[in-house]
């Protein structure tokens, strides 16, 4: 069954992508736990003995859950643990932003700063983007009740909107208003994409799987874009919160809607 294949695709992509990301984040923190403790302290949310214990325990939990996801062992439970961690991070970052604190988010701390994807060779980055675009195309070409040429048109429109945004972002060092404009364009195109899927599949056949699948594709795209725009330490902001939300949504989806065989 083709739709079953899509679910497995989604599951595997999430498993490997987020698993790798969490192992990477844990490795950075374990490299210099004292620095991570300082970062945690800056948030001003935990004090006393909980601070060193938390700074020691959080990277361990990230590593355990990330490894389980990567190895494909007890993946549903691992997705639950990661959801919990992400909820905690989002709450902490939200609280810090509400207090107008300007600080490094201490999310990765690998080699002194976040692992900026601009450090990757451009060819590799282009290949990754092309792979994502291809995945996007095949995932959105699912059979439906709508006539086939229409599907090709909508898929092409989605692809073109996202691709244009990326080429523009990668080609320039844009001013702040251009960056925000392009972020808005990407957000609007993503929402339009969701609306097209809704229109295509109809409200009555709406499944969280469709939204989850879109979140899977949009999540990494947002992630790539935000890292492109933030060289060096990742300053706490809407971008870091958005990135975590982009990971939280598929994680929650997999906890509650994941394939039965992945218990």
């Amino acid at each position: 069954m083709k739709s079953r294949g899509v679910t497995v695709w989604f599951w595997q992509a999430f498993r490997l992508g987020v698993g790798f990301l969490f192992v990477l984040a844990a490795a950075g923190k374990l490299r210099d736990p004292v620095k991570f403790m300082g970062g945690m302290d800056q948030y001003g949310l935990v004090h006393g003995p909980i601070l060193p214990l938390g700074a020691a325990a959080i990277p361990g939990i990230e590593l355990a859950a990330g490894l389980c996801l990567l190895l494909g062992w007890r993946t549903r439970a691992a997705a639950g643990v990661i959801s919990g961690l992400l909820l905690m991070f989002i709450a902490a970052m939200g609280a810090a932003m509400a207090k107008h604190l300007e600080l490094d988010c201490s999310c990765f701390d690998l080699m002194g700063s976040d692992p900026s994807l601009t450090a990757l060779p451009p060819a590799l980055l282009n290949a990754a983007l092309a792979g994502l675009a291809l995945a996007l195309h095949f995932l959105t070409s699912e059979p439906s009740t709508v006539a086939r040429p229409w599907i090709w048109r909508t898929s092409f429109a989605k692809l073109l909107a996202l691709w244009t945004a990326f080429v523009l972002l990668r080609a320039s060092e844009p001013a702040a208003w251009v960056q925000h404009g392009l972020q808005a364009l990407l957000l609007v195109s993503g929402l339009a994409w969701l609306a097209l899927d809704l229109f295509r599949f109809g409200w009555s056949t709406l499944r969280w799987g469709v939204i989850g699948r879109d979140a899977l594709i949009l999540g990494p795209l947002f992630w790539l874009m935000l890292y492109k725009l933030s060289d060096g330490p990742s300053i706490l902001g809407w971008g870091t919160i958005l990135r975590d939300v982009a990971m939280l949504l598929p994680a929650l989806w997999l906890v509650f809607y994941g394939p039965a065989e992945e218990a």
């Binding site: 069954m1 739709s3 079953r4 899509v6 679910t7 374990l30 490299r31 210099d32 736990p33 004292v34 403790m37 003995p49 601070l51 060193p52 214990l53 700074a55 020691a56 325990a57 959080i58 990277p59 361990g60 939990i61 990230e62 590593l63 355990a64 859950a65 389980c68 007890r74 549903r76 439970a77 691992a78 639950g80 643990v81 919990g84 056949t205 499944r207 969280w208 799987g209 906890v255 509650f256 809607y257 994941g258 394939p259 039965a260 218990a263």
Partner: protein, 65 residues
């Protein structure tokens, strides 16, 4: 639509595994800190090194009562 995309409430077993993962990870994190030379020194961070030692001539908090 796919029959395998449906709500399934996580069972107690999943919850137990998640809890075990948290405990195991936390212990592993604490352990790695103890064996690492750049790790957080828990004795200092938790203020355990400032506990008054016995027989040094300083009064114990309990002895004050």
């Amino acid at each position: 639509m796919a029959s395998n995309i449906q709500f399934r409430r996580p069972g107690w077993r999943s919850l137990a595994w998640a809890l075990a993962m948290v405990l195991w990870g936390a212990l592993m994190g604490l352990g790695l800190n103890q064996v690492s030379s750049v790790g957080i020194n828990m004795t200092i961070a938790l203020g355990l090194d400032q506990a008054p030692s016995t027989g040094s001539g300083q009064a114990q908090p309990e002895a004050k009562r």
